[in-house]
Amino acid sequence: MLYREAGQFKSTYAEDQQIFPIRQDRIAVALLLAVAFVVVPMVANQYWLSAILTPFLIFALATLGLNILTGYAGQLSLGTAAFMAVGAFMAYNFVLRMPWLGIIPSFILAGICAAAVGIVFGLPSLRIKGFYLAVATLACQFFVLWAIQRIGWFTNDSATGVITAQTVEILGYTFDTPQSKYLLTLGIVAVLALLAKNLMRSETGRAFMAVRDMDVAASVIGIPMMKTKLLAFAISSFYCGVAGALYAYTYLGTVEPEAFTLDLSFRILFMVIIGGVGSILGSFLGAAFITLLPIFLNVLFGAASHTFGLDISHAIVSNIELMIFGGLIIFFLIVEPHGLARLWQIAKEKLRLWPFPH
């Protein structure tokens, strides 16, 4: 009833090509942004901001990066954590060695470094596909961590390999409260998500999807394979690199190379699969599912045993949490193999007809 596009006429090309063609969508997105930028920092406490929302946004950005590569361009990659590590450690080095540069340019340069690494390790994609490509990107995962652990320059010869992120300061303003760190993260993620959304509607994005759906057909109709695939690797790695830099600077404050293991790469791949392959919204939904659900289960179990006075061993509770988490992943994949984003899309279709489906 409310969600219906009847009566919304498009009289110019610009109107026809808007990101959100339906007026209700535009209002909803504007409201969401207003809540995220204004209401959340005012009402959320420190725990929510620094332990839940900031990491969620950072993982959403990394998932978005991988989604561009895997979801849109169809190139399977297991090197996401490595690209994040490049971003984190290069941002540290840019701020350390070129302090006049400023934080945002350092983040961008760190992202570009990650993009360069992505291009190098994306070269095998010109010859191989699917699982074989995943194995090639696995090499990236191990090589990057090896290099960071062994070459002292990356960690400024820190004996333990742990780096401590410098203070974030932009135009004399220091980002040291959870609110300001959250807003900085949100700002960067919002801008990059908007760029990604637009990119996927452009010629480049369509070329990505053509390569994903059938690369032989794509090259027959004149899409340059090398340029498209390497560009996908570069853009994806750039996003992951910026996410890595944010992970170090606005979230944990210290980073060790071990934080970026293969385990993290798999987690981000799961976020893409659960959220929805080839969907911007799905990246956010998937990141929310994987990062927030274990914490929610933990709090729920704690509260439940508190309320009902249950005396279960904590080790059993912790293991049950992991089992439920695994079970829910399987449940969602059976119910909707195309991810949470697809569920949302179905809900929207239904909403258009509601309350008179016939």
Partner: protein
């Protein structure tokens, strides 16, 4: 049904907002540890011991001067991100917020240094963590208590010297440092290099990637090097694997010396006979013969309140290490109360004072019933480490036997390195060191 659902929702909301109803006369200590995953034996043992001791204090003494200890468990999975989440969740609970944090992970300790300092919550990293935080002038809220890794390492080299018949005999010897490839494992590389130069031995650092269940190539390298000693700096599954692989490659176990995170029952029993003769360092000793341990058995396990599901683990290395964590926490609260008011819950800032002015001497240890469970401990504003001495144990196939007295660390090597490293950190971060 409706009421329980509502109560549940309320409790969840309270859990998320990180605030609990304030109740007076309670001192909240977060138990942010790990009960699942590859390192669960360490996490469950140490937090089991600590909470057993808290229960003993509540049960036998009615709390610390009448202030009951409370706690809440939070699963960190030995993972930095989860550790930070648990910290944020627990820091405002209880009437005065978190008393003190035991992160039980070097990585989480690093992540909490700045956050906890800003929130004025002390972090005790007993026997792990950032070594140069022993300089209390730069790190007011971080306490790598009892012995840090560098101190322990000098004691280890002293022990090797004793075994070889004098420190001068170390000249020309070959020592391999087999380490877990993580922040924890790498922490001792600089101090070993300094000692190698001082005593004239040759040190080779060999990394074992996490988790360390495959060490064939590392031990092949060790066999080619033919070292006189191997220092095992392992954690979790890496330890029994190292001992088993050493046995297979014919390296004598009597020449392997483990760090205290390689010296629990859980590290040697899986290796079976391959572990016989192996040495390990310890800053706490196992057993249930100490009066404090007997009281835990009587007041806590006697009433079926014990934390350990497997009662045979009571008195194991990890469990008594947890009891030592408990003793230090409770004594810090007691010390703080003696200054800021007996029978009142203390804030993190007051506890910080309590830890810094902690003085557990022999007399106090006897009163606590913990003589031989741990060493005397005295801290100061400058020295956030305290003890510094280490004992060595040897595994005979069934239990750990203590084979040395308390071996003092060599602070003439360690302290200048700590001060230099802390000064570099202070400069990088723009911290003005306190004047002590």
């Amino acid at each position: 049904m409706k009421r329980t659902t509502f109560a549940l929702a309320l409790a969840v909301a309270a859990g998320f907002s990180g605030t609990a109803l304030a109740q007076a006369k309670e001192q909240f200590v977060p138990a942010n540890g790990y009960w699942v995953g590859p390192y669960a034996p360490g996490g469950s043992g140490i937090f089991g011991g600590m909470l057993d001791y808290f229960k003993l204090i509540n049960e036998r003494d009615g709390g610390v001067n009448g202030v009951k200890l409370t706690w809440e468990k939070c699963e960190t999975e030995y993972n930095n991100a989860r550790g930070v989440e648990c910290y944020e969740r627990s820091k405002n609970k209880g009437p005065t917020g978190a008393t003190v944090i035991h992160p039980l992970s070097t990585g989480i300790t690093y992540s909490l240094i700045e956050k906890a300092t800003a929130d004025k919550i002390p972090v005790i990293s007993m026997g792990y963590g950032r070594t140069d935080a022993s300089d209390g002038r730069v790190f007011p809220y971080i306490f790598p208590l009892i012995t840090n890794y560098w101190s322990q390492n000098t004691a280890k080299i002293k022990f090797i010297g004793q075994k070889e018949g004098g420190m001068d005999k170390l000249k020309g010897k070959k020592i391999v440092n087999l380490y877990h490839d993580s922040a924890y494992g790498k922490e001792t590389i600089p101090v070993l290099d300094v000692q190698a130069k001082k005593y004239g031995f040759q040190v080779t650092h060999i990394a074992v990637p996490h988790p360390g269940n495959e060490q064939q190539s590392q031990w092949l390298q060790i066999r080619q090097l033919r070292p006189d000693w191997v220092i095992l700096r392992g954690w979790g599954v890496m330890n029994p694997t190292a001992l088993k692989t050493a046995a297979r490659s014919g390296f004598p176990r009597e020449k392997i010396l483990g760090v205290w995170w390689s010296g629990a029952e859980e590290d040697v029993i899986p290796a079976g006979d391959a572990a016989k003769g192996y040495y390990a360092a310890a800053f706490n000793l196992p057993g249930t013969q100490h009066p404090a341990m007997k009281d835990i058995l009587k007041y806590v396990y006697g009433k079926g309140q014990g934390e350990m599901d497997d009662k045979s683990r009571v008195g194991s290395i990890y469990h008594t290490r947890g009891v030592v964590h408990g003793i230090v926490t409770v004594e810090a609260i007691r010390t703080a109360q003696s200054k800021f008011g007996k029978g009142k819950p203390m804030t993190g800032e007051q506890i910080r004072w309590g830890i810094e002015n902690l003085n557990i001497d022999d007399k106090r240890l006897k009163a606590l019933g913990a003589t031989d469970l741990m060493q005397p401990l005295k801290l100061s504003c400058k020295d956030h480490e305290g003890g510094g001495a280490v004992k060595f144990m040897q595994w005979d196939g069934r239990k750990w036997n203590v084979v040395s007295g308390w071996i003092e660390s060599d602070q003439s090597i360690v302290r200048p390195m700590i001060e230099e490293s802390a000064a570099a950190y202070a400069k990088e971060k723009g911290i003005t060191p306190r004047d002590c």
